[in-house]
């Protein structure tokens, strides 16, 4: 309104009305539709989608905080990091960044104020294409600026010295590498590879890390334990072995649950903030990349009779503790209440970590919206000791999967110990 009033006064002060009107109209139009913004609008819209695919909001938002204003804590072996405010506030956000600076931050972890910690996944984002970076930049720059200064990082020496990260980058980060584009793969596969490797930065959680917390590219996507959960092996062979098909993966990635298994922990939030907002084409592309074009492996179901013979205590505990919800013979009682264990990916996985950790920790109830909510699961770390959990998991794996190596009580004890150390057992049962 102020703009219009100003134009009106200009109009009134101009004697040659006709000529002045045209001039004033130009100013009016300029104020109402600045050329830079009109050109940037579709780009910003594209940027919103890219931001969803890159899941920026999950890390750059504190619990119950305003989106993109930062402050979410990230506990690392070297101390606690806090995500930054990425709204275009000049003082506390990224309002002063040029496109060039934004690009350097995203791609190389080189912010205008120094090196970024690799908690910011520039180790994946360096693969993001130029046009996508620009779209992201336009999107963030047109967000409302919010003044919010996240808490200061609390890191131990020498990790608290940002210049040391140059050395880290020199050792572990090679931004000259480009995304592999094997000739034999379809365009859909290539798009999926870009979404998974670059924007989705899936490898940041699903790839094992070395002692300096750098991803081990020789084991890309082979899985990694984070926050007490196994961010599972997502290599095609592993997914195939667990029996995943396209329809089940699509359902899992867009709703958080499927007959083959459910998402929990951080991955549930990835679905909530990112995956379910992606187009069908992009989800399909990711699935094509994840399952690769490899053949489906023949089903090798377990044998519940021999499992019952080999692990009678495990079977007894399954009936006494689990079957009330997970159904007779592990068939489950609806996905929303208690999914079946007889075709569950966590039971079928080569690594038993999640099967054990879920029993020990339980799972919180999840509520995506009115119609898509799931019941939680109680924790059993007080009720079942290591030997019984080992036998229970062995029974389930033998009965309903092609079986992996036998779980020992020591393995359960190790997982219990680390979960306890990291404070993942709730005080109330």
């Amino acid at each position: 309104m102020a703009v219009i009033a100003r134009c009106r006064s200009l109009l009134a002060g101009e004697p040659a009305a006709g000529k002045g009107k045209g001039w004033a109209m130009t100013i009016l139009l300029f104020f109402l539709f600045p050329p830079s913004i009109t050109a940037a609008q579709p780009l910003a819209e594209k940027g919103r989608y890219i931001a969803a695919a890159a899941d920026c909001v999950a890390c750059h938002t504190a619990e119950n905080g305003r989106p993109f204003t930062g402050g979410r804590p990230f506990p690392t072996p070297f101390g606690t990091l806090y995500s930054t405010n990425i709204t275009p506030d000049g003082e506390t956000g990224i309002g002063d960044y040029s496109l060039e600076q934004f690009r350097a931050t995203m791609r190389h972890g080189k912010g205008p104020h120094g090196n970024l910690y690799p908690a910011m996944p520039y180790t994946s984002y360096y693969l993001v294409r130029d046009d996508d970076i620009e779209a992201l930049y336009r999107y963030f720059m047109q967000l409302p600026p919010v003044e919010n200064r996240p808490p200061k990082n609390r890191l131990i020496f020498p990790a608290n010295l940002r210049f040391g990260l140059s050395f880290w980058n020199w050792l572990y980060f090679d931004p000259e590498k480009t995304l592999a584009e094997p000739a034999g793969k379809s365009a859909e596969w290539q798009r999926g590879s870009y979404l998974v490797n670059a924007l989705g930065h899936c490898g940041e959680c699903h790839t094992p890390r070395n002692f300096a917390q750098a991803m081990r590219f020789d084991k890309r996507f082979a899985g990694n334990v984070l926050e007490g959960w196994d961010a599972v092996d997502i290599r095609p062979q592993s997914l195939r072995r667990q029996g995943w098909n396209r329809a089940q993966l699509r359902q899992l990635l867009t709703t958080g649950s499927s007959e083959r298994g459910t998402l929990f922990g951080e991955m549930y939030r990835v679905m909530q903030h990112s995956l379910r907002h992606l187009s069908d084409d992009d989800i399909n592309a990711m699935i094509t990349f994840l399952l690769d074009d490899s053949e489906a492996l023949p089903e090798r179901p377990g044998n519940s009779e021999s499992a019952a013979q080999n692990y009678p205590g495990g079977r007894g505990d399954f009936i006494a503790y689990c079957a009330g919800c997970h159904g007779r013979a592990g068939s489950g009682i609806t996905q929303a209440f208690a999914p079946g264990m007889d075709n569950n990916a966590a039971i079928r996985a080569a690594r038993p970590h999640n099967a054990i950790a879920v029993i020990l920790r339980g799972l919180p109830a999840q509520r995506l919206d009115r119609e898509r909510a799931r019941a939680g699961m109680p924790s059993f770390h007080r009720q079942l000791d290591d030997a019984r959990i080992a036998e229970l998991v062995n029974f389930m794996r033998a009965a309903w999967s092609s079986g992996g190596a036998e779980v020992t009580a020591e393995e359960v004890a190790r997982i219990r110990h680390s979960l306890e150390e990291e404070g993942y057992f709730s005080p109330a049962h």
């Binding site: 006494a320 109680p378 007080r382």
Partner: protein
């Protein structure tokens, strides 16, 4: 269907050994085999906690367990208290006096239809027993009640009267509240 040989203590009396089909829920076992119909089936999926009973753990501490989602095998060999086990009875089994929690629920008109009451009685009793060992600070009473009873669902009275009754028991029983911190 395979059976389990079940024996346990229920309200102080030894039950079994008796052969029970292994997939029998504890709730069905109480109702159909022991004729203890005070424990109620509410939601049947472990949410409402109307079906909770008290089980003594290995250290003599008490905990509540839901009987709709746990099968009878989980309770084998344990010491169980249901809502029928709180009142003092004479030699003929006639009720002489109710427990303090039960009295308080009556005095405060805590329930109307009474379906959720067995769960509330058991959970509140476990809370009181816990406070006898570890008294609660005065300013933590509300939070402590919420922690113990907050997940119980009642569709009649809106919880307030249950909370008032439990607070009343905590405040009027000597030794449950500690001064300071």
């Amino acid at each position: 269907m395979a059976s389990l040989s079940i024996s346990m203590k229920v309200n102080g009396e030894t039950v079994g050994p008796m052969d029970i089909p292994e997939y029998t829920s504890m709730l069905d076992f109480l109702q159909e085999y022991l004729n203890l119909t005070g424990t109620k089936l509410g939601c049947g999926i472990g949410v409402c906690r109307a079906c909770e009973v008290i089980v003594e753990d290995d250290n003599g501490g008490l905990q509540t367990l839901r009987t709709c989602i746990n099968n009878v095998g989980r309770f084998n060999g344990s010491n169980v208290t249901t809502v029928e086990g709180h009142a003092q009875r004479n030699a003929d089994g006639k009720i002489e006096s109710l427990s303090p929690v039960q009295e308080a629920f009556l005095r405060h008109f805590s329930f109307q239809c009474g379906w959720c009451t067995p769960g509330f009685v058991n959970a509140a009793t476990v809370l009181i027993e816990r406070l006898k060992k570890n008294p609660v600070a005065k300013d933590k009473i509300e939070a402590t009640i919420d922690e113990s009873l907050g997940k119980h669902i009642c569709r009649c009275t809106g919880y307030v009267r249950y909370f008032h009754a439990v607070r009343d028991v905590i405040e009027s029983t000597p030794g449950l509240v500690k001064e300071g911190d």
